[in-house]
Symmetry: C2
């Protein structure tokens, strides 16, 4: 009995050992969560959205597309302090990355768009950006038979409206996630995915308080915070942030916390694009948000950790756009 | 004997029928030749060239790439009358397509660059286009470790020069061909690849004389011709064409004959981008180059034929560009 019992116990233990999923070693309790890799999408809608995302005919000039400022070759932004719009107007604020943007609680630095679809409607009609109008953008698409039939297939509509246009763009953007970063591999149980220095950087990131704002799947993007929490930030007083939306005095200079995913790809940093070096950005954050001065080794380690957040970039097959027709409104560069 | 002989003959005939290559029905004697589909390239060099082609950091502003004006989503051009350059300067001439550009006898409308490599050097340093300099472009690439190592792998150099940069871009551009158009399928023996109307259009294209300039693999691109051969063209008197290069009076308003491959994708037409409709473009050519007035059915048929020249567009996996470093020269939008 005892012997049998012992063997039974061993057997149970072995069985358990075999059936315990790899996830047993996953780090469930960390404040940063891995990007799920198995999201499902409506392929046809995504394909339409991709065409629209890359189509410069949604702009007045016929030259600027969503991808102009959210360049998927460059981490989903334009690597400029602020974007260039119609007639070379310089925007007031740094273009945030479109990569993983679905993990933001709202869109734009001031959160004025509740989701990706609402965001997509903005730049098309912004006179300083794509400078078109929803009416003109829709008329352009409606004039192109191949777009007509794609919208009919995907949405069952003969008459395109801006809602289908922005819904398709948003659906494409939802696919733009970057799973499988080395940090996520580590979260998922691969001990060797990050180095000792990077682990120490992550430990510092937590203990110094960075993680209080930069957490979750996006490593940010889920709260609004004042830029200059413990020390007044005076480099940019023009962008009022969340105040634009709420008109509450307390919301002046309050911005959505940016995602830190792929942060090494998206310099320059902050809403004002004022800092090019990740090292300097970390120090500015420590000084203005946490009231800390980091040592050089501490900064280096945190930067090393941040670079583990670069994930697998979406593989995009560059679309071939359907040709315009004689009915298509002509591009207007003026 | 007779019977055996007869069977032998049958057997020979059958054997011949089986071994006669499909090419027996190929149309070797047509003035238009199919695009070869089996070209071989140095893959690593092509991959580097693709990155450079899409990299806006080759421009002063960090915002304009080769692809800005030669957009591979839109038939290899920008579908504008003339391109938009640094600070929204409008170019003097229509951007020709980069697709099949290797089949041109020289590059630019006036043929001032002898090949794709020489062409690629132009826009980077043109103050009205990318507005950078070769020195700045090279310094930018040299500051990015991942580019450094790619250039070292491909060219065995530690110090990048503009020669490697333009060679890689040109090598990528050489891959941008569009084989397998319906017309090429017909040339290669597939009788059903084009319709009766399209065949009639092609017959008209030959008999009316269009083919005297638009022939060869590119359906153009292999001679210079005066725009306004039989009737003075007065819509654009500023672009002097080949005269820019030769300073010969006879070369005023002489331009390289454009390729007609994928012509349905590359409106607006002509060096001045003055015509959006392919129908109208055909009529202008008939009037100014051939001294003809085509009937409506003739025009329609020729247009139908021209649309059979749209080939398989290159499938481009959008590159992921390496991030800049703190040493990288900053983009200058001014």
């Amino acid at each position: 009995m005892i012997k049998t019992g012992f063997l039974t116990i061993i057997s149970v233990v072995l069985t358990l050992a075999n059936t315990v999923p790899v996830s047993a070693s996953k780090r469930y309790n960390e404040p940063i969560k891995p990007i799920p890799a198995d999201m499902k999408y409506d392929k046809q809608k995504v394909e339409l959205g991709k065409k629209l995302f890359f189509d410069p005919r949604l702009s007045k000039s016929g030259w600027l597309s969503c991808n102009s400022c959210h360049n998927l070759a460059m981490g989903g932004d334009d690597n400029l302090p602020s974007s260039i719009g119609h007639q070379w107007q310089l925007g007031p604020i740094n273009s945030p990355t479109v990569l993983n943007a679905k993990f933001n609680l709202a869109q734009f630095w001031d959160g004025r768009a509740k989701d990706l679809q609402e965001q997509a409607a903005g730049p098309i009609a912004n006179p300083g950006e794509m400078a078109s109008s929803h009416q003109l953008a829709v008329a352009t698409l409606q004039s192109i038979p191949s777009y007509q039939s794609l919208f009919e297939q995907v949405y069952g509509v003969k008459k395109i409206t801006i809602n289908e246009v922005t819904d398709a763009i948003a659906t494409f953007e939802e696919t733009l996630v970057t799973p499988n970063s080395r940090f996520d591999q580590w979260l998922l149980g691969n001990e060797k995915a990050i180095t000792q220095v990077e682990k120490e950087g992550y430990a510092l990131f937590k203990v110094k308080g960075c993680v209080s704002c930069h957490n979750g799947v996006g490593v940010g993007g889920n709260t609004y915070q004042k830029f200059g929490l413990v020390k007044t930030y005076s480099k940019d007083e023009e962008n009022l942030g969340r105040y634009n939306v709420t008109k509450q005095e307390a919301d002046k200079y309050v911005f959505k916390v940016p995602l830190l995913r792929n942060i090494e790809l998206t310099a320059p940093y902050f809403h004002d694009g004022s800092v090019w070096s990740l090292r300097e950005a970390v120090n500015v954050m420590a000084e203005y948000q946490l009231g800390l001065k980091l040592s050089v080794p501490e900064t280096e380690k945190i930067v090393a950790f941040l670079k583990t957040l670069t994930g697998k970039q979406p593989q995009i097959i560059y679309p071939v756009l359907p040709p315009e027709t004689v009915k298509t409104p002509k591009p207007d560069r003026s």
